[in-house]
């Protein structure tokens, strides 16, 4: 398996867990893997980015501009913010949920309306889904990250059993059942546009 994946979102949405599941997947696959995370100040509701690189040999832990095979975005605006990291012809897997940043909340700026169009113009493929609605159905609003992970795994052609095993390795046992449901719903929820 070989993929550079950029996971982007808003601090608190669980990009760290998502990257750790992908790390566990690499471990299962026997691939080399490096993850780079954001801790500290940037986590407080700010824009966050986590780098995942899986390949036979990985050097830099950071995915560079124009180097991501996939951008996995937990929020629309954040997908567009990091679009320069996408390879030509790469895929954006995006949650259509919107979380308003402070300049929009205070009315200084407006939230861009045409993000999906912009993404479609820039990416080879856009997979958009309302992960918040799916997470709501699952019964755990905080499982948006795992729903998105399911959609990513389906896109990458990872067999469900493998991503499920990776999930099991990465989450606390008592949280596994609800997250497995979220993973499954995300895996089967692909809606290409």
């Amino acid at each position: 398996m070989k993929a550079n994946i950029l996971i982007v979102g808003v601090g608190g949405q669980g990009t760290l867990l998502a990257s750790r599941v992908l790390g566990a997947l690499a471990e299962i696959e026997g691939s080399d893997c490096k993850l780079s995370e954001v801790h500290g100040m940037s986590q407080r509701g700010g824009s966050v980015v986590t780098h995942v690189k899986i390949a036979p040999e990985v050097m830099s832990p950071i995915v560079g501009v124009g180097d991501a095979d996939v951008i996995l975005a937990f929020e629309e605006l954040e997908a567009l913010r990091y679009i320069n990291y996408l390879k030509k012809g790469g895929t954006v897997v995006v949650n259509t949920q919107r979380i308003l940043p402070m300049p929009v909340i205070t009315g200084a700026r407006s939230y861009p309306e045409d993000i999906l169009d912009e993404l479609n113009g820039a990416a080879g493929k856009v997979i958009a889904l309302d992960a918040l609605a799916i997470a709501e159905k699952v019964g755990e609003l905080r499982s948006v990250n795992v729903v998105m992970l399911g959609a990513l795994a389906a896109h990458l052609g990872v067999p469900f059993e493998k991503i499920d095993a990776a999930l099991k390795a990465a989450v606390k046992p008592k949280l596994y059942d609800i997250n497995r449901r979220a993973l499954e719903c995300g895996y089967n929820a692909r809606e290409d546009i």
Binding site: M41, S42, Q43, V58, M59, P61, P101, M102
Partner: protein, 573 residues
């Protein structure tokens, strides 16, 4: 078995395998997880100290007593610990001692991007710099061995990208290193002029020996490929170089102080163009030049921020990745919904006070729309700065000035500031934002939380009693959520002569997540008052009215208190 590990976790593992017995630290991004990870090993005593100076002294004491010890800190923590560090270089060690120092190029979570490598040179302490988690573990073990062999503390330096990246590590069992005997030796452990004169000589002799030996260390590794370009680098930058310039020859330095000058000189002769690729200051470059090894470096790369594969490709290969210019609303970090600091800053802004703030989550009070902060310098500085403002501009100034500090930061280095203010007849008002945790670094315990790093019960420092005891003229406690009470207290205390302390108490909103139901809005009059709180859960609609995002709201009710029309209602249980 190979295991994915954070750089910080790997350092903890390395220390564990090396038989470390005592670890002391103060949390600071990007170093915090080293201590949190090592606390999980039953064989190791690990603690949070109130600050890095104390933590360093604890590690020095444990080393003198014959144990392998470690102290962990972020780069600015090294400034705090510099006093014991410089003289510990003189005394040397008994049990091996490692100083973990984490730099933050690019300032992901820091107030400056100082280059800690200069401390190594200035204090004459060797410094190792690993390039991934596997090396982080191995270099930490090596650091303990070098410490004992050369009788010196040893720095392990990381940067954010090493500390917070995960890569594979092979675990090994712990080596039980017995306590070395402690023998009283005034000439070595009692630093006063008569003995320090002799130790200074020993420091130089040891450094000369090490400077020669490092040329033979295999952690300084020459990788010959083409002869056109030779790169000298260390740490995570090595990974960037290898990815950007797969054909270049590389001298990868595992020890960045003292430099393997003879190895570098030999490498320089084998390549046509020698370039030092290093983040921040020209630390390696200038030393090479001073020793007559011609090279390039900062004429190509900036001293600011981080390097990257793309930047190295751009500067050395002239290949620039296409980038679209985007004009998007920024998303800076914000105080969380329900953050107890928010209301206090709202009141400070409303009263148009000059605010000297400090290091922690509440630094975010500087961001719009609260924008209530005038100064932020370093840990504990808020108190001294408010005092300095008064001494420069008189009582008229302190009547509309407050200092603001968190509970953990107050204990770190605000206490000496308040003692100074009392002693020197100040009239400052200090607000201690007591959220019962070290918030920004991810909820670490401290002396006033009642738990240790190992999550064992501890005595609880009484901040109110402490302030009274050191002689503050007025000490009062308010509820951070009670805006009327906060406003009344601030107005009264800035008007009062003498040193006043207001302890604004409320646990961090992320600690106990049993929230009341979300607030609701009905018949919004669009006055915009609630937007001034800068709460991420209050959203401005296209028509100017407020909407509360129920998935983010934690029901703190602050917005209901600032709404003049009673349009916002607290959620009912």
């Amino acid at each position: 078995m190979k295991k994915l590990m954070l750089g910080n976790e790997a350092i903890a593992r390395g220390a564990y395998e090396a038989g470390v017995r005592v670890v002391s630290a103060y949390p600071g991004t990007p170093s915090t997880e080293v201590s949190e990870c090592i606390a999980k090993y039953d064989e190791v005593y690990a603690e949070w100290a109130p600050n890095e100076k104390v933590a360093c002294e604890v590690a020095v004491g444990a080393s003198y007593a014959g144990a392998r010890s470690m102290v962990c800190m972020k780069h600015v923590g090294v400034n705090v610990a510099a006093d014991p560090i410089f003289t510990a270089a003189y005394t040397g060690v008994n049990g091996g001692m490692v100083i973990l120092a984490a730099d933050d190029p690019g300032m992901h979570s820091s107030q400056n991007e100082q280059d800690t490598r200069f401390y190594a040179r200035s204090a004459h302490i060797p410094m190792l710099e690993p390039a991934d988690s596997a090396e982080a573990k191995e270099f930490t073990k090596l650091a303990f061995a070098l410490s004992e062999e050369y009788d010196t503390p040893v720095f392990v330096r990381t940067t954010t990208r090493l500390a917070h990246s995960q890569s594979f590590v092979e675990e090994a069992p712990r080596e039980e290193v017995p306590l070395r005997p402690y023998v009283k030796d005034v000439s070595k452990y009692t630093m006063m002029p008569s003995s320090a004169i002799g130790r200074h000589v020993a420091v130089e002799a040891r450094e000369d020996r090490l400077a020669a030996d490092v040329n033979g260390f295999d952690i300084n590794r020459e990788e010959m490929r083409g002869t056109e370009t030779g790169i000298i680098c260390s740490g995570v930058v090595y990974q960037y170089v290898r990815e950007a310039l797969p054909d270049a020859s590389v001298l990868k330095l595992g020890i960045v102080y003292p430099l393997a000058l003879e190895k570098a000189r030999a490498f320089a002769k084998k390549v046509k163009r020698l370039i030092v690729v290093e983040e921040l200051e020209p630390f390696i470059e200038n030393q090479l030049k001073a020793h007559g090894i011609p090279c390039e470096g900062k004429s190509i790369f900036s001293k600011q921020g981080e390097l990257s594969v793309a930047l190295i490709r751009e500067k050395l290969l002239g290949v620039k990745a296409e980038e679209r210019k985007l004009d998007l609303p920024v998303r800076p970090p914000v105080m969380c919904a329900g953050c107890p600091h928010r209301g206090v800053f709202y009141i400070l802004g409303k009263l148009k006070l000059t605010v000297s703030a400090d290091i922690g989550c509440y630094t975010l009070g500087a961001q719009p729309p609260l924008a209530a902060v005038d100064t932020v310098l370093c840990m504990g500085a808020s108190v001294g700065i408010a005092h300095g403002f008064e001494k420069a501009r008189g009582r008229e100034q302190s009547e509309h000035t407050v200092a603001v500090i968190g509970d953990s930061t107050f204990i770190h280095s605000g206490i000496t500031g308040i003692i100074n203010a009392v002693y020197n007849k100040s009239n400052i008002t200090l607000i201690i934002l007591d959220n019962s945790t070290t918030g920004m670094t991810g909820h670490q315990q401290h002396p006033a939380t009642g738990l240790t790093l190992k999550q064992e019960p501890a005595k609880i420092l009484d901040i109110v009693a402490l302030c009274k005891t050191v002689g503050c003229d007025s000490v009062r406690v308010v509820d951070s959520y009670d805006l009327a009470e906060v406003e009344k207290a601030v107005k009264e205390e800035v008007a009062r002569d003498g040193v006043s302390v207001i302890v604004a108490k409320r646990p961090c909103a992320l600690l106990d997540r049993h929230y009341p139901p979300a607030c609701t809005v009905e018949d919004c009059r669009k006055c915009g008052m609630c937007f001034r709180l800068g709460c991420p859960a209050i959203e401005k609609q296209a028509d100017g009215s407020a909407r509360i995002n129920a998935s983010l709201c934690v029901g703190c009710g602050l917005c209901a208190k600032v709404c003049r029309f009673g349009a916002i209602k607290e959620g009912k249980r």
